[in-house]
Amino acid sequence: MLRSITGKHIWCRLLALVAVLSHSIARAELEGLTESEMSEVDGAGIGLVLENFKFSHGTDQPDINGQQARIFRISGIKSTDGRDVDITVNHLYIAGANSNYGETLTPVNLGRLLNPWRIDVVDGNTIGIDDKAVLEFAAPAMMSAAEGYDCMGGSATAGSGTCSSRPATSSYIGERADIGMQMNVAVGADRSANINIHAKSAVVDGSYLRLWGDDGRRQMVGQFKLNFFSPELSINACSQDGSACGSRIVMSDFALQLAIGNELQPVFLDVDGTGNFVVDVAAIPKPAPGSIGGDGLRGSSDSETWDFYEAYYTNPEYRSNLSIGNFSVGNRDFGSARVQGMLIQHLNITTKDLAP
């Protein structure tokens, strides 16, 4: 009995000590963080991988009673003459490679365990956005040429390119999806032919959307990068009943690297007073008069200003590229096309309501 009483005493003392300690710890924890301390917060992000994924939806033909089992429709858009525009999606799919334009849907993995899709709060200082915490939604990151894979799917061996997602092989379903859509557009009572868009073995590695707040404009700002690679992107049109199809427009080795907004010129998103959506990329500020010399060389200019503009104009990350390996219509080849180094210097898009 004596032992158990002393034991209880020790227990009580321990409890009291823990209470005191936890009190002082709690007080220490509640100190305010400064803005710069806050901006260094960089938590572990969430990684997402879709395993054996398959998505398919569409619109069925009406049965004898005029009922449709499946409907997928986008509407609410008006033509300039006030008629309703209706986009009926006959089929939208995301599936494994070799789907034969959506005919045979098999599963696919999206994202890699070692390089997944990510939702993360990133320290802005590490990505050139000073003293901000940045919310980032990102596709699998690009890899070094020594360990990545060919983005066009020509080879499934490491070291053949910079993409992280791997093409399908005989033993593995891969991480590149076949994506496609068949739709038709009706303006009033006029319904168009079915338009088919298919991308084979598509990769979006290196794409991201970053969002943060701008103190000066008190507004949400962002930065958007879209990489899209596909060994074959094709478009064709078929009659409503699918009996006859036009020539297929095929863009082989299609690569799009689109950059909208950057650290120096983020995209501002807003809705104006009349209820219209506004997307705005502000122009880069002009140099102060006299800070750039008459001959434009560094020697005659303020070196810091000159370096700033030199970095802005030469940074390949700020530029958009589009390249098509071969463009063909039916059996006619038009060769390759390439648009490189597009820099968005100023962009302002405002939606307009056409309804009377």
């Binding site: 960089d42 992000g45 879709l50 994924f53 507004q219 959506f277």
Partner: protein, 184 residues
């Protein structure tokens, strides 16, 4: 003190004496080290049927009402602002019903597969098993931008950008794997 487990055991056995020999065999004591090896079949299996404003929402005023009233809007409305004094992005007239069967949730250890990635990864993930098909019953929503948060506010102006309507069975197969990433 040492007698207590034995007494308890006896009570249990006697109460189950009529229940047959197998019940007695099941109730033998597990030593601590055996108990520590017990791992339950963790996981959740969910079936759901979710309706949003199928007949109309709870608000009834000059703008919102029952779906049977043609002059009123009956869907839910979700508005968010991108700028301190700016207008509102709106997800409007959200309504419909969707049902699924067999959404699963469990913790899974991955140490193989994934084209060789699994072996290197060798960690636990949260696995959300998608329900193969999700049945949509007249699910609609509209994306719009608006000058005020509520349609009943003064000076309300709205531009509808587009609306989406879905019905029928949507095929959604696979597993969504969620896990922490990056270096905190």
């Amino acid at each position: 003190m040492k007698m207590l487990p034995k007494i308890l055991f006896l009570v249990v056995v006697s109460s189950l004496a009529g229940g047959g020999r197998s019940a007695i065999a099941e109730l033998s004591l597990l030593p601590d080290e055996r108990l520590s090896e017990v791992s339950g079949q963790g996981g959740i299996y969910l079936s759901g049927d979710i309706s949003i404003n199928e007949m109309g929402g709870p608000v009834e005023n000059s703008y919102f009402g029952r779906c049977s009233d043609a002059g009123k809007k009956c869907g839910a409305r979700f508005a968010y602002r991108l700028k301190e004094t700016g207008g509102w992005m709106v997800l409007d007239e959200i309504r419909g019903n969707f049902a699924f069967e067999g959404l699963t949730l469990r913790v899974r250890n991955i140490d193989s597969g994934f084209g060789g990635d699994g072996e290197l990864f060798n960690r636990d993930v949260l696995e959300l098993g998608l329900p193969n098909t999700v049945r949509f019953n007249d699910v609609r929503f509209k994306i719009a931008s608006s000058s005020t948060a509520r349609p009943t506010d003064p000076g309300f102006q709205q531009t509808d950008i587009f609306s989406v309507e879905m019905r029928g069975e949507v095929i959604m197969e696979g597993n969504l794997l969620v896990f922490p990433t990056g270096n905190p």
